[in-house]
Amino acid sequence: MKNRKMNKIISVIAVAAMTVSMVAGCGSSSSSSTADTAEEETTEAAETEAADTEEAADTEAAETEAAEETASDDEAATPRNETVYFAGQQWGATNNWNPMSSNANCWAIAQAGNAREMMYESLFMYNCLDGSVTGLLGDTYTWNDDKTVMTVTLKQDAHFSDGSAFNSADVVATWDAHINYGSPTGASYMLYIDSIEAVDDYTVNINAKLNDAGQAENPLMVETYITAIYQMSDEYLQVVSDRNGGDAEAIKEDKMEDAVHSGPYGNYYASEQKVIYMRDDNYWGQSDSMWGSLPVPKYLAHVIYKDNAAGQTALQQGEVDACQQFITDVQKLWLEDGLPISTWLDDAPYGLCLTMPTIWFNTERNGLDQVAVRKAIAMATDFSQIAASAMSGQTYTFDEMPRCVANPTDAERQYIDFDQLTDLQFSGNDVDGANALLDEAGIVDTDGDGIREYNGENLAYQAECPTGWSDWNATLEIIAAAGQNIGIDITTYFPEYASFADDLTTCNFDIGMWTPTGAEIAGLWSRSAAYFKDDYAALEVNWSGNFGHYINEEANEILDSIPYMTSDDDLKAAYTRLSQIYLEEVPSFSAMYRPQAFFAASESVWTNYPAASNDETSNIPPLVLTDGAGIEGLYHLELVE
């Protein structure tokens, strides 16, 4: 008994001693800077243990280390009032700065219809608000009469970050590099472009690939090329080639940390925590032929956050200025929290909805090859619940914007005759209608387990999208719930992105979710092609569309004829017919409308962002200040104070 009491007393004393020592240890670290704190603590340690020389040496080493850390921290710590912070555009350390790479995860590189124009630049910029195309490195483009050769003139003021002039040799070298080294860009555009040749120093001809009838394969894709693909420096490509001994694989994976680029921002700092791009004050675009000035912020920085929640917290604290993330109930940030945060629109849907995340059916699976099953799932799905809860209201409903192959912009919707589609629309949550449709098709439950069968097999499917994509995950849950109501067993499956991508692109899924082309120069055609094109179904690995291998001859004939149509009436008839097929056959269906990019801007440091209500910036698309014509936003920013 005595022994136990003694033990207790000793343990109490021990705990007290530890607590006191911890408090004493923390007491000295009142400084706000971490680097300072580290130094103070090491100094303190050095003083007490000065007698021991070995330990003192250790401390010195630690101090030097701390000093080095401070130095690299200095580089990363750019002045707040010269830096615009971003979130949601890069989620891991940068692999490379190489536009030819197949695994570029670099923030500055996004070669799509609205190319990211901060470091590299494309020839032209697409404005998804009004559908206009503005010259960037290119000045004008014209087609010959039969649309087989596109002539592009170049801006004579343009030059690269190393001072060398940009001219037609660079445009040719860029194309040749993509083709010779077999880059992803080369692989996709070699189907549509035969060659690019220089006419003079500032004029190039893009020769379209011709089909057997002597027509261009697809002039629209040539137009996409000039708004999507970056132009690289001929001389720099030679340097990269030389240092890799001309090996194509090595060249494609070259890090290009020292990249010569034409855009206004260059690689300045990159670590696993943060990437920073610094303005090139010698940027050619300050000439009057382009912007007439430099972009306002000197630095563009992107902290690499662990997840959405971390990014959102940073936005709320004013540490992030432009946030490309899905934020639940985004309006609460200003209505309830009173934060100086705003979006493109002040009310729902808050963003500029341009894309249509789509539910794809694998039409090779038992049951999903039947229109009735596909259409029943679409009819039973509660779209208003998806809009209100999965998308948190940040979308148009299908009542506001009826379904068709066009996205919810006038630029595309002018080609659809909605009167012809009225009877084909399904509003969703129509469980009775869906059940009746299935019963009528003879697809019923014969063994009494509550699940309908087709060819003797239960209709059981997995609905798949990448894990952590919360709005998509919730959407698929709502579709799975709809399946239960109509006797179709749908379970959700959320694998890692890479594994999902494999499944989707090799047609190894039942029901998948993916977004076809958004708003770009040939967006309407590309999206329609993504829904129907049989060429895509024939590819072994296919990123372009028709993931579910749906084959419809009529649709393909229409798709093939559209690129050569010149009259708006013909185009309208064609796209309306495609929409009819889309709604009748349901090879896939749109689950919601979604912004091309989410964009919540904080006015804690910067103001005058693109906003629909701001006359000065209302024609700048809200593409997070970086993409396509949205880059113009950087030239209008102002400091709050």
């Binding site: 929640a309 109930d329 945060i341 209100a388 919360s470 919730a474 719930a481 959700t492 499956y493």
Partner: protein
């Protein structure tokens, strides 16, 4: 037996744990009798509706109502509609527009609004942020609404002409009695990101989690007990073999095995039962180890040797001479296994490897969706806090019971 039970229920820790546990289970079984809501039905058309009673607005408007001599006056209207953000906005506007408000108490909302009405103009002469401009416009519309005393006009569309016809004007003295209204719905804990009633979901989830815990606990304890008895009593090669396998499982973190198995069985197969079985099958090693060591210390006791000399079968010796001596220990192990089963389910569901969301609510799934829709950043405490409390209460009560039992059965801890 009676004496033991008496002892157990006099151990304060056990009693407290028992009361919490029974209370929790009792609530879960009684609650469904008082509600007709489904745990997975999506009621709310939106994310995270706050707790409270919801009244059908159409019904309120159609209700004849009562006239009370209590005017919903401008002051209360303004106080109710202007929050701290809006008041801050008004002051910001005054500062920017150079309006002197030094004579006004900034807590006097009516005076502030009067000054606002006198001075506000939508063509700002000063430079300010878009957020501020939007805030000022919002304040103006709130103030205009609060200031007007014409009442709300109810109009209906004429079916023939399509024109609006005024049918009624609702004034500030018109009230509805909530007991006259048929469509009054209370969400005690609000709704979640799918619009489901959190309380109903929580009750269903607690039951499911307990089922998983119970199943997992029983399986783990049974496997652990059998292997432990066998290894401890038989010894020799069998002991070596079982110890080897047990060590193997102890070295590999069981959660990793849990993840791998859960992943490989696939989503469609992962119901409550399967998840329970998977957890049970990975949690047994520590029970085996401790039962084995207990049995080893028992097997050379005199009474066991006597039994052996009397020629009793191994089965009989284990059942009558060994098991009763470790029974209390096994019960305690079972309780701990149940509680860790509940936690394991929560962990699994948090990373998306639990049961399917559309088929069964579980505590882990509720946490997962609350996190995915950032309930913790949006102040939607009702979507995750009750879940955390429930998990904590469940495991806490079981641990308390376990400690109470320990106090009764462990001779070293007896006073």
């Amino acid at each position: 037996m009676k004496n033991t039970l008496n002892q157990v229920f006099h151990a304060p820790k056990f009693l407290i744990g028992f009361i919490i546990f029974v209370g929790l289970i009792g609530f879960c079984f009684i609650y469904p009798f008082f509600t007709d809501k489904g745990p997975l039905t999506m009621y709310g058309n939106g994310n995270f509706f706050p707790p409270g009673t919801y009244v059908n607005r159409e019904e309120v408007v159609e209700d004849d109502g009562y006239t009370l001599n209590i005017e919903r006056n401008a002051e209360t209207k303004i106080a109710a509609s202007l929050g701290d953000n809006e008041i801050k906005g008004i002051l910001t506007y005054f500062d920017l527009a150079g309006i002197d408000y030094s004579g006004i108490d900034t807590n006097d909302k009516v005076a502030l609004v009067d000054l606002w009405m006198e001075n506000y103009s939508s063509d700002y002469s000063f430079k300010t942020t878009t957020a501020n401009k939007k805030l000022f416009a919002r304040i103006q519309s709130i103030v205009e609404k609060a200031q007007k005393d014409t009442g709300v006009i109810i109009a209906e569309k004429n079916a023939e002409t399509g024109e609006l016809e005024q049918s009624e004007t609702i004034t500030g003295t018109s009230y509805s009695n909530t007991s006259d209204l048929a469509s009054v719905i209370t969400f005690v804990l609000g709704t979640d990101n799918f619009g489901r009633d959190v309380l109903t979901e929580l009750v269903s989830a607690t039951k499911a989690s307990l089922r998983i815990g119970l199943l997992a606990g029983c399986i783990a304890t049974t496997i652990g007990l059998l292997l432990g008895l066998l290894a401890g009593y038989v010894g020799g090669v069998i002991d070596n073999l079982i110890t080897f396998v047990t060590n193997l499982f102890t070295v590999i973190p069981s959660f990793i095995i849990l993840i791998l198995i859960s992943y490989s069985v696939g989503d469609s197969a992962r119901g409550v039962t399967v998840v329970g079985i998977i957890i049970g099958c990975t949690a047994w090693p520590w029970t085996t180890r401790s039962v084995r060591s207990q049995v080893i210390s028992l097997r050379n006791r005199d009474h066991v040797n006597l039994s052996k000399l009397s020629g009793h079968s191994m089965m009989r010796i284990i059942l009558t001479d060994i098991l009763p001596y470790i029974a209390s220990y096994v019960v305690m192990a079972l309780i701990l296994q149940i509680s860790s089963g509940v936690l394991a389910e929560a962990q699994l569901s948090m990373i998306g490897l639990g049961p399917a969301t559309t088929k069964q609510a579980t505590l882990g799934l509720m946490m997962q969706w609350a996190t995915q829709y950032s309930a913790h950043l949006n102040g939607a405490w009702w979507a995750y806090f009750p879940v955390v409390i429930t998990i904590a209460l469940m495991t806490f009560s079981m641990n308390l019971m376990n400690q109470g039992l320990d106090q009764v059965f462990n001779p070293q801890l007896r006073d």
